[in-house]
């Protein structure tokens, strides 16, 4: 796996590293960190929803992101970006249902370890299937001409597509919040996060509900994958390179907490960006250090409930 898209560093001493220079670059960096943070939030929320329902940390969640990105790419090349954004979550939801019905269901009653293993295995199979179909190289599709320019925000020029992407993700996060807080399925998720046995007592429609919720969590990742691929490009490893920081997000924010995922995601995104300017060599390590500190001080995460770590 590549190191992920997040390492930056400088070497020479003759460079302009005055406070003024750093400050002039700060707004762009903060915006950049915010947008990357939003991607983490969206992925972490998908993990959280599925965890609430199935008590399962899904290593294949990154694969959903990658499938969404590739489906979006293929459809967008033929029919345009909007079609790609519609096709991707549908395709990923379909894949998730098949995956759940054929494979994952067998592992509901098994120990967490074998659940993690089977999702890890599926993640590899998906990654390698994508590699065989699309090749191992990075792909991206050009941003539609109307969105390809940059937008003057006053303090900085920023690519238009990235701004629209940020707005879209924020709306998506609001939708997820409403889903969890206002719908019956959301109630199941909330109940599941608090107490696993309560969900099992609900009986009846839990099987259907679990499939639906699993598919929703997956399509969330698929949609983000399709929307993000004009920005970050996509290769078969893309899923993992976003999944790992999202794990850190989940640990920092607290597994199972909506606001934990939001807070953790934005924190991780901004930490990386600010460190890029202030202490470039540490810009990758810093999120792991933050995670270690959180674990030492509050093992259940900033906004998590303590019961969770006994998952």
């Amino acid at each position: 796996m590549e190191a992920g898209p997040f390492v930056r560093r400088t070497t020479r001493e003759n460079e302009d590293t005055t406070i003024d220079a750093i400050l002039s670059q700060l707004p762009g960096q903060l915006l950049d960190g915010f947008i990357r943070g939003l991607v983490y939030v969206a992925i972490a929320l998908g993990l959280t929803i599925v965890f609430g329902m199935l008590r399962l940390v899904n290593f294949a969640h990154g694969a959903f992101y990658a499938i969404g990105a590739y489906v979006g790419l293929v459809v967008a090349e033929k029919l345009g970006l909007a079609a790609g954004l519609i096709a991707a979550p549908i395709a990923v939801a379909f894949f998730a249902v098949v995956f759940d019905r054929i494979l994952l269901r067998r592992f509901y009653s098994k120990e967490p370890t074998s659940q993690i293993l089977v999702t890890f295995g599926v993640a590899i199979v998906v990654q390698e299937t994508l590699r065989l179909i699309f090749g191992g190289t990075t792909r991206s599709f050009p941003i539609p001409a109307a969105l390809a320019g940059s937008f003057n925000l006053g303090f900085t020029q920023y690519p238009t597509y990235r701004l629209l992407f940020a707005i879209g993700i924020v709306l998506l996060i609001v939708a997820v919040y409403l889903f969890i807080e206002r719908t019956d399925y959301g109630l199941i998720v909330r109940a599941g996060i608090r107490d696993r046995t309560m969900v099992q007592l609900l009986g009846g429609n839990v099987k259907l509900a679990s499939t639906i919720i699993f598919a929703l969590g997956a399509s969330l990742a698929g949609l983000v994958g399709a929307a993000a691929s004009p920005i970050y490009s996509v290769d078969p490893n893309t899923g993992f390179s976003f999944l790992i920081p999202s794990f850190v997000v989940v640990v920092i924010g607290g597994l199972g907490s909506f606001w934990g995922a939001v807070l953790g995601g934005l924190l991780v995104g901004e930490l990386q960006s600010v460190a890029t300017l202030a202490l470039p060599a540490a810009s990758d390590v810093i999120i792991y250090i933050a995670m270690a500190i959180v674990l030492l001080v509050k093992p259940s995460g900033l906004l998590g409930e303590s019961e969770m770590i006994r998952g």
Partner: protein
Amino acid sequence: MFNQAKPSRGQFVVGGAAGAAVAAFSSVNVIAAPMKKVVIGLDVPQTGPYSDQGQDQLRAYKLAIEEINAKGGVMGMQIEASVGDDQTKAPVAVENARRMIERDGAVMITGGSSSATAVAVSGLCQEKKTIFMATLTHSNATTDESCHYHTFRRYNNAYMSAHAMAKTLLTKYGTGKWFHITADYTWGHSVYESLTEVLEPKGAKTIKNVLLPLGTTDFSSALSQAQAAKPDVLVITEFGKDMVNAVNQAAQFGLTKSTKILVPLADEYMAKGAGDNFDNVVTTAPFYWQYHAAKYPAAKKFVDAFMKRYGAPPSNGAECAYTNIYQWKEGVERSGSLDPKKFIEKMEGHKFTATKEPEYWRASDHQGINSCLVLEGVPVKDRANPYAFAKVLEVHDGESVSIPAASSKCKIESA
């Protein structure tokens, strides 16, 4: 003639001797050919960021091998290729080379695309006393501080590109502000050091160097820093798909319009990926099919054969791959032996003409001394075909831009 070869090294494989299982599983899959064979290893990326370049080299290798085999092979031996995908990763490249040498009995390894893999394979080949004809590797290290007795590199290096670009551009941008985005491994470091070494004494100011690992896909952080810094020149020392992503994203930040973009090394695959964003970008290459085919008959013959076979002209990496196979063949034939030592003695200082002007192998560091082209990208509408991506600004004689032998850090092992 071959008695100095240890039997275990399998210097050549006699057909028919191999058992059925070997035929089924091993790459040296000899059925019943009565012909003697010599095995060489092609260690190139078929996946990873530099896979376009690796695949194009593979095409050229196969073309050269087929041509040679059709004309009777190397000293009567048919060339048999053992191929490995190095995934653009050094450990995989080394493992491939080890398998090619230890199991398949390869007497020569060739390949590259990433200097990290080339330098690593070069180290292994030195240990295994096996010839390594490095192909697409542009870091100085390959024939400078990490040079080895068994390694030859004909491709231009970072020092040559830096000096060629500097000579062409200094009058216009020499005293401006330069911002670097650099791939964080031996090649990137090598280009950055070479460029700043030439530019800074002339008054150029280096604002910043942002290092990003091989395989980076999101350049926005570095690009927004560049945007805020308002440099005169933005040097994007990235290669393959990474370079395509970086240049395309630079365009999103409006940098391709406001700033002179330099990409120290490029080929038609990268230019194609960058499309119109490659317009006006300055780069270098050791070979450009359009230029060389028009000037040298041997180049035209090669380009035509390649076009006929694959429907596209060869990239500069493919040209080097093709010439490397022929250089190895001629070296073996001139020394009359597969013995590496005798081969190397015949190669050092050897003057030859292949697809370019007359050139030679420098004895002191095994660097091929040949010309370096400075190119400038043209917009898609001005490209006669999708692969005619640039115009030639200037051609620099190899001698004039190479690391002077006296200041080379190469301490080659004694035979």
